[in-house]
Amino acid sequence: MANHRLSSYTIFTELTDSDGKYLLTHGYTGAIDVASKDIADYLRSGAILDPAQAPFSEKTFQSLSGRGYITDKSEDEEYNFVRRMAEAFHKRSKLFKGFMFVVTYNCNFRCPYCYESGISKDGRHWTKQVFTKEMVDRAYAAMEEIEPVREFRGRTITLYGGEPLLAENREIVEYIVSQGKERGYTFGAITNGYDLESYLDLLNPETIKQLQITVDGRKEWHDRRRIHYKTGASFDKIMENIGKALANGVNISIRINTDANNFGSLAELKELFTTLGYTEYKNFSFHSARLFGDDEELTGGSEAKSATPKRNMNFFTPKEFNEKHKESGLGITCQDNGIFNKLYSAIGKKTSISFNSVYCGVQAGAYIFDPYGDIYGCWETIGKKEYMLGSLGNEKIEWLDQMDIWRNRNIGNTPQCSKCKYAFICCGGCTAKLLRHPNGVLEANCSQFPEVFAISANRAYASYLANKDKIDTPDKPSVKQ
């Protein structure tokens, strides 16, 4: 008879409001179960697990085995399986290519935390370069060179910057979208929302159909951080533009850059969105995004607290950030590496957790074209020539060695990740934050993932209990936070 042991990929999460029960999650089968404390204690006893000695029924023992928590595989056999699974997932991810145009590096805002501010060292003239029509044509041709199979090319192109929707760049943006539409693409844009009135005729579900707009809390905080280079204050104009774009049927996602300083204004901002009627739109949403400092990017480890405050910012660690949102009771969605969505979706749809072996498209099929004809994979490194993947060239793309560094990383070939029970959910963390790590990018970037997982797993289970009737009864809408 085979020796059974606790799988190395079993995650135990104490359910804080459920009388000592545990949420069991399995790191490569994707199972989610609720277990009694007795079961959890037995599994963690460190013993060889014998069905005859178990303090629960044989049926339960078999269930635990079938779902992966009890295994007859050795540690090495499990590690090898995870590595194989990670490679397969990575190959799958690499099939799909997504494209982004950095219309210009120029921006009409002067935000104190901007991670792109470093590229301004090359001078204002350098940042003012804008795509030309010839380069747009070249970029579209390059997309087909990169991926000849239409089905593997993403059908939504993202416009990025700098600020991609500056009023002064209307002509080239119109050219980009008209050429894209002829080829069957639609567009999204990451914008500060200030000059949107110059683009209203392009903002519709068939053209530029999605906008992510950053609003940093209530007016007082926003205007202190999101500073227009001429007018200073930007809040009122952005709010007005959001209403216009919503009326055009554009999907708008508001990103609230949050630190400890402006956290207290989230409630007011939420109320304002309601007062303005924006929350009535199905195409409107908002979420809180954690600000972090440069030193956190450098360390990349689980000690995620940024030691050096940056220009009056007061950063949260990932754990603090999630705790604060949970405690607030505001119900504002916040970044948690997708843990809540992954777990709650799996529960709601009765499927496995959606796993991946890469954290971001830069490790698979993301291509970012800038106004100099340079190609990058990660938008956090655009404009930094040392991280270029290649350049468009006149007729044929010229690739650089950087490509391999970015594209080869997955959780299977990152030693610490391949042995981590959270790896297929965490996906290894941001590669860009590891670029200057002394050991290179084949390192784990944990960023307090286990701590955040515990918070979000409890949240997912609480949401399940709140919606249990809908979820467990077929033919009713199931997944709703």
């Binding site: 799958r92 099939l95 593997f152 979420h287 009765k350 496995s352």
Partner: protein, 79 residues
Amino acid sequence: MKQEKTRPELLSLNDGLYSAYTVQELEQRLETDPLLLSAGLSSFDGDCKFCSPFSGDEPCDLQICEPYCPGVCLELTLL
């Protein structure tokens, strides 16, 4: 070994788990017919509630969800 209690000791919240079989199927599909893996991927249109921040009434809270990241699409299924 105890008899099972009236109330289940283990409550399974989901199904459709990954296994050696499903991984092998994916590997074979990648080799023989990868195009099939692109079928029905609403998320790849940028409309996925997981993989896009522009998700309407169910906003995505993924740090990784930026819309140019089809490689991390969570609506991708194994087959």
